[in-house]
């Protein structure tokens, strides 16, 4: 019986670990004040699409907007934008930093 309990607990533990969503990468931090002063995620997406990006996912990370997508040059990247100015702060392709704004 003990073995079965152990097996069930082990399976539950493994399941819990595997179901946990990936933690925020937190490559960049923004001190951008309260979210009420931020531009919307939709505004950022619209701006990027206009510039030729393909946006696959946009979310808040480290107080910035974090975007997963493809640049106009065709690179699959993870990029950070300032939520108030929508300035590009950081672009990395599979961990390789392609761009980092001075001060970030």
């Amino acid at each position: 019986m003990r073995i079965i309990t152990f097996a069930v607990l082990a399976a539950a533990g493994i399941a819990a670990i595997s179901a946990t969503p990936a933690a925020a990468t937190g490559a960049i931090k923004c001190q951008a004040g309260p979210q009420s002063g931020w531009k919307t995620k939709e505004a950022l997406t619209a701006m990027l699409v206009k510039e030729g990006w393909t946006v696959r996912k946009a979310k808040v990370d480290g107080g910035c907007y974090e975007v997963y997508g493809t640049t106009p040059q065709g690179e699959r990247v993870e990029a950070y934008f300032h939520p108030v100015s929508l300035d590009k702060l950081y672009v990395a392709r599979r961990g390789e930093v392609l761009f980092r704004k001075a001060g970030y």
Binding site: M1, R2, I3, I4, A7, A10, A11, I14, A15, I17, S18, A19, P21, A22, T25, A27, R56, K57, Y68, G74, E75, R76, A92, R93, R94, G95, E96, V97
Partner: protein, 203 residues
């Protein structure tokens, strides 16, 4: 009691246990709860964890001797290894699905975080292909040489993990138990090779 023992020793049940993370991850993806791009981290991490587990069993045995539970794990080391490879294949498959086409995959193939992953997968192929009794018999002494490829493969895996996130923390945390056991083994061997000086006989 006999039933418990047969459950504990059942290899299919153990394989099922090893497949639980994949089932949870695939169900999440199938139901639309997990995006394709978010399947990469869990499948890759599960692969790396199983690889580390397989690599830990031997050194642990050398460190603390043949305990019952270690023997039980040792008898299942091949399962850990084959499962690690299977998760690596799943990881690569989701990467391919996420990228969507070969041209995009080739375009970033030389990025440090990517070539290391491909190289690790290539090194894992002969390991997985020879993880059976027939290969063990036909390769004889050469089998061990092939299986030692797990060390460069593990190094590449951890580099892939660290570089793809531009963050070493998670990869190093997973290397830590292995490094600790190796360190203790090396220290013990050094101490055995250089015994402390004997007190003089007082002549």
């Amino acid at each position: 009691m006999a039933t418990v023992r047969s459950l504990r020793d059942s290899l299919p049940l153990f394989w099922l246990l090893l497949a639980v993370p994949a089932l949870v991850q695939l169900l999440g993806w199938w139901s639309g709860r997990i995006d394709t791009m978010d399947m990469l981290a869990p499948t890759g991490e599960t692969s790396a964890r199983l690889m580390i587990a397989a690599m830990l069993i031997g050194p642990l045995m050398a460190l603390i001797g043949p305990r019952g539970w270690l023997r039980w794990l040792l008898a299942r080391r091949r399962s850990f290894g084959v499962a690690a490879f299977s998760y690596a294949v799943l990881h690569t498959a989701f990467y391919a699905v996420d990228m969507g086409n070969v041209a995009d995959m080739l375009a970033e193939a030389l990025a440090p975080g990517i070539w290391t992953g491909w190289a690790a997968l290539v090194l894992f192929l002969p390991l997985a292909a020879t993880s059976n009794n027939a290969a063990m018999r036909s390769l004889r002494a050469g089998w061990k040489t092939v299986q030692r490829m797990v060390y460069p493969a593990a190094l590449l895996t951890l580099l892939h993990w660290a570089w793809v996130h531009n963050n070493y923390t998670a990869a190093l945390a997973h290397l830590a138990p292995l490094a600790l056991v190796w360190l203790i083994l090396v220290m013990r061997r050094l101490l055995q090779n250089f015994p402390s000086p004997q007190p003089s006989s007082g002549v």
